[in-house]
């Protein structure tokens, strides 16, 4: 098979891959961009996520990425020329505090967030119940709330990016698996199921699947896959505003603008790349859902799905150029969807210029796992 060539090859058409492709196009350098994905549209992490986006993190770096990303989501309809928009329901995230200790922690977070410009605040139980009257009042002594957080449709987000980058001339192909990366002179050749592609630069955005692609090049990535499971109800009106979080249970509840309620329960499970459902999940997920929103016990659950998310030792992304010249990596650590606007921008800069002055790039490098400079995020759900 003859070898195709491109300037920049992006592997993975999820939120990171497509956002980076869009930002590369925005720079208007004339670089030819090709994006390859092994699956079909939205087949992996982005298409399976709970769809929440939040500024309420515990670390300045995370907050910085999300402040930038949420500003982009607010403007995405215009910036991506996507009439109808991406269903950004910006009505906040409410993190329920079950006791005074937790509320104290939330209070400290809110102070730190406020100092960084995040408009979060503490709600009394009465204020929380006013926003979500269906909430079980016995579950909270208060809550942390940020009105800038919310939910975006992952499918519309990917579709908006996909159409925009195709309009800008990028080549995006689904159903094409990259099986191997090889160094060849100053370029990199990607062997794929549809023939080889040679590129000056390659950006790998395959999340937890990245280690198997990079290992043959001598690059060892501390990334694992952990199954994560969710369910969705039939549509119900009226729609309550905020996304709900019970951090001690890994529970996230989000009512989509069309009325369906998504519930995700993240729990510690052994490393596993399969997306098979777990037999014990539905009683757990439905149990926490009903306990949190007893008035919705009658709602039918229509679907329950599972998909692995990426896990790193400090649950922070790995971003930047690898030891192989021209080879770049962007792995999210289970927040690729919500951070994709900002990470796409900084990765575009790194790929085009070899550098970016974005603080996240310096911090979220691969070397930190050797030096031990981990950056643990306290507010992982």
């Amino acid at each position: 098979m003859s070898t195709e060539t491109t300037d920049i090859l992006i592997i993975g058409a999820g939120a990171y891959g497509l956002s980076a492709a869009w930002w590369i196009g925005e720079r208007d350098t004339g670089a030819r961009v090709m994006v390859l994905d092994a699956g079909d549209f939205a087949a992996n992490g982005t298409g399976s996520c709970g769809a929440g986006v939040r500024m309420q993190w515990g670390l300045e770096l995370s907050i910085g990425l999300m402040t930038e990303s949420i500003a982009f989501f607010e403007d995405a309809e215009k910036r991506l020329d996507f009439p109808g928009g991406i269903e950004f329901k910006q009505e906040g995230y409410m993190m329920l505090a079950r006791d005074a200790d937790m509320l104290g922690d939330f209070q400290a977070n809110v102070e730190r967030q406020n100092a960084l410009g995040v408009p979060s605040r503490i709600l009394s139980p009465e204020e929380a119940l006013k926003m979500v009257p269906e909430l079980n009042p016995d579950l909270l002594v208060g809550a942390a709330f940020c009105p800038k957080d919310g939910t975006v449709s992952p499918f519309l987000w990917l579709d908006a990016l996909l159409r925009a980058i195709r309009r800008a001339g990028a080549e995006v192909r689904f159903g094409t698996t990259v099986t191997r990366l090889e160094q060849k002179g100053g370029t990199i050749v990607a062997q794929t199921t549809k023939g080889p592609v040679e590129a000056a630069k390659v950006l790998v955005c395959t999340d937890w699947a990245a280690p198997q692609l990079l290992a043959p090049l001598g690059i060892d990535l501390p990334i694992e896959a952990m199954p994560n499971e969710a369910m969705v109800t039939e549509p119900w009106q009226p729609v309550f505003g905020p996304c709900l979080v019970r951090i001690e249970h890994g529970l996230f509840i989000n009512q989509l603008p069309r009325g369906s309620i998504v519930a995700v329960v993240t729990r510690e499970l052994p490393k596993d790349e399969s997306s098979s459902n777990h037999a014990d999940w539905l009683p757990l997920g439905a149990g926490l859902f009903v306990e949190t929103l007893p008035a919705f016990a009658h709602l039918n659950i229509v679907r329950n799905w599972c998909h692995p998310v990426s896990i790193t030792p400090d649950m922070q992304p790995i971003l930047g150029e690898m030891a192989v010249p021209g080879l770049f990596l962007a792995v999210s650590a289970y927040k690729g969807f919500m951070t994709s606007p900002a990470v796409g921008r900084l990765m575009a800069d790194v790929v085009l210029d070899g550098r970016s002055n974005h603080p996240a790039l310096a911090a979220f490098n691969l070397k930190r796992f050797e030096t031990g400079d981990l950056i643990p995020e306290p507010l992982v759900i």
């Binding site: 079909d40 549209f41 689904f174 539905l282 439905a286 009658h298 659950i301 329950n304």
Partner: protein
Amino acid sequence: MTAPRIVVVGAGPAGIMAAREAKRRGAAVTLIDEALRPGGQIYRQGDAALASSGVGLPEELAHKRTVLEAFAEVAEAAEAVDYHSGATAYAVFPGPQLHVALADSSRVFEADALILATGVGERAVPFPGWTLPGVLYAGGVQAIMKAHGVRAGDRVAVVGAGPLIIAVAAQLAEAGAEIACVTLLTPLRVMARRPLGLWAGRGVVREGMAYLRQLRRAGAPVLEGWVPVHAEGAPAVESLCVARHDGAGRPLMGSERRFDVDMVAMNFGFTANSELARMAGAEVRFDSVRGGWVPVRNEFGATAVPGVFVAGDGAALRGAFVAAAEGRIVGAAAVLTAGGKGTAELHQELAAEFTERRSHQAFQDALRPTLDLPSGVWSWATDDTVVCRCEGITQGRLRQAVDEGHVTVNGIKRNTRAGMGWCGGRTCLASVAALAAQGQAGPPAETPPMRPRPLARPVPAGILARREP
């Protein structure tokens, strides 16, 4: 040796006969059924207080009695089958184990063998106006007559493909409806290509002729080689336009006829309820006439997944007589396999059942061409016709997705939301697959179905939250 635990899903002809056969052979049998009374869709029983269960002709009613007597035998035995009515089997996990929603809680049934006899659902071909109130599935119209003694319309058009159309039209006429028209995609005489098959099904053919005579007496026009063009009315259906088609399913302009109606009954074949089998990990093959993606099985109904069997129409549409014979084969094979018997012994022991199934199967083969859908039928929907009813996704939006390069069923689903709603894609899957096939320039066989995930049927959160230990 303890008795093998056999769990059967579905109390239609296949499930009931499988349960009886397994019970007779000493198994501990559990029978799970969605309906409140046994019989399945085909032998649906009405409310006991209504004298409505007589819908049907003598041979059909005799078979119904046989099946229901088999149910009575196992339900009233000293050590009866563990029968759960009004119960929804919503997931299968390795084991095999079956997850079931009962009235107030959910329960896991561990099985040595799981027999899925889940039947079929009706297949729609979308045309403009098919989502108007008053446009119903023909089988659904029949079910309303059988279960509730209610005639769902007064002046009715019955449109579709295959013999069910004739039966429903005649039963509606019998119930006092005026039949405005009956249209069949393919003339029933194509069955004559297989005279031996017709002979094997002569009882059923005789009853079909009786239905046709009944329609003729009622003055109902039976238009063969005709298709629906559009239904109109506000807020509910008031008229249906039909036309002759070109042989490939596309209506011939200029041949239209319009009928004033207050109900349209429609059926274009069936889709196998294969969700549970696919969830269990069974491979599927595509058979457009016999139910779309159907589980791959051996002659005893066993899939390649240990302990998972499929019987009846849910494995491949062949009607109640084949289903009942096959139920006996699969019920016996599940017990005998659990007892370590090999293929040769099974063949010897089940020779009579195999002969019976073969004989009924021959008639089904003769029927087959009446249910074949030519590719042109998928062009009836115009760009503004809603194809996915749950999410309100139009044919135009689906075409756009295909034009933009989304040519797999799952890719189209995630790009458009078609198939993400209440019905889990059962209604629109055939349409989406046909469009995907056009995008790939290949038959739907090459397009894998939507990934099977729980729940096979919606279940309230409160019931899932209460799992019995």
